[in-house]
Subunit: 255 residues, 2 copies
């Protein structure tokens, strides 16, 4: 018996999120089906991050146990043959049999993408949040600085959370702008990259939504400190829509 770890990328547009559900296509469900097709084993993968419907990933992690003789570093090719093109395993390897991707220290990086333009571009309909009007990027950076470090992020967590503890550490929030292409004026992407030791339910989307409201001048940057202080969801800003969010990377600290 071997435990195999997969690094999984997906375009979440057509999926009802990571977590398996009876009558809806999910990333987890497709992985289970593909591994069954590849090995004949009826396994259930364990995912590191149960991303929401419409959220994307370049580096989610899943593990499963197998008696297959397929070499661990070749598993990706076998599984990919049975996956739809919206899901791809980028990397596979063997890990310790007691390794669990949700019970280990990790550093996760999420990116939230905003399309700033007068008219929404079809090319970004499923992978960015369309926001009209200018955003004050410098104010957004000032607001983000209040979120860096160890804080109780209860205000930045969906009330439907199952988390008992709401203290997390954010290591960095980088906000960059880039042009979409050389042809389009007044059209650019704002990319918010957030790295931390863990994230509560909807936390990155609430951070992105709040920062956009700061960028629009609806909140002063320093008001974000008060939001943390209040420790209730209604103190923070709106939840940004799912399609702008991508799980970029999960670094395992003690694999």
């Amino acid at each position: 018996m071997k435990r195999i770890m997969l690094t999984v990328a997906y375009d979440g547009t057509s999926y009802s999120g990571w977590q398996i559900q009876p009558n809806a296509p999910t990333i987890e469900g497709e992985l289970n089906k593909a591994i069954y097709a590849a090995t004949g084993e009826n396994i259930q993968v364990i995912g590191a991050s149960r991303t929401d419907a419409g959220v994307h990933a370049y580096g989610n992690i899943a593990v499963f146990d197998t008696q297959s003789t397929i070499p661990p570093d070749r598993f990706l090719y076998t599984i990919n043959r049975w996956l739809p093109p919206e899901i791809r395993v980028l990397y596979s390897c063997e890990v310790a049999v007691d390794f669990h991707p949700r019970h280990c220290d990790t550093i996760k990086t999420y990116e939230y993408v905003i399309l700033q333009s007068k008219i929404e571009l079809p090319q970004f309909h499923n992978c960015a949040w369309h926001v009209r009007g200018n955003l004050n990027i410098e104010a957004m950076r000032q607001a983000a600085a209040f979120l860096i470090g160890e804080h109780d992020f209860k205000s930045f967590c969906c009330v439907r959370t199952q988390a008992e503890h709401t203290v997390r550490t954010i290591y960095s929030i980088k906000i960059l702008t880039e042009s979409v292409n050389a042809v389009l004026d007044d059209t650019y992407l704002v990319k918010i990259s957030v790295t931390g030791n863990g994230f509560l339910y909807n936390m990155v989307r609430i951070i992105a939504g709040t920062l956009v409201q700061v960028g629009k001048g609806q909140f002063l940057p320093q008001y974000v400190a008060d939001m943390l202080e209040k420790k209730e969801r209604c103190a923070a800003g709106q939840t940004a829509p799912p399609q702008g969010l991508t799980l970029m990377e999960i670094k395992l600290c003690n694999k």
Copy 2:
């Protein structure tokens, strides 16, 4: 009666190309329906470039005649209300009543995007051509240089063309590489940007396919000069798939 010009962006993935067809969704068909919904007028738009199924655009052009009192620069908002999110009018204005977007001098820019990676990324499945193995970008640039200028591009034209004359002028071919994101190693985009006074059927896709074969070492760069010389389709390289192609911009020289 006014003639209105639209600049149209679209994600061509789910469409059978620009040109209207009886039983398939097309960009032209959706525009006609949206304009009917907006004005009650049964019009047929005239497009500048009849892009193939799966090809995208940021700047295709369409014109139509209307008796509507909607201000020309507001037409985009009215039409967008009736279009699916895969199609958006970015700009609208009035033009001379005898202006025809295919019977005027234009400078067109197309971009062809290649994803260079071991495993195809789901995020680029519908908007890039996945190519494994390294490409020699410098050899591709050398090959592209032979195509600049006025040439008979008969070898770089699908045999099903209706064009009588196959001489065209390419003003520039730029080939750039960029990383997909900071997380993924050995994964980058190769963007081939081609600007010219007109393009034959499949011409940019045959140029892209040929340059990729040069990049793989299947042809020497200078062999592209022989390809032009031979004036037959079989002399040039393969036709790259449609999803990597985007019509970026059409500049009108004598609107």
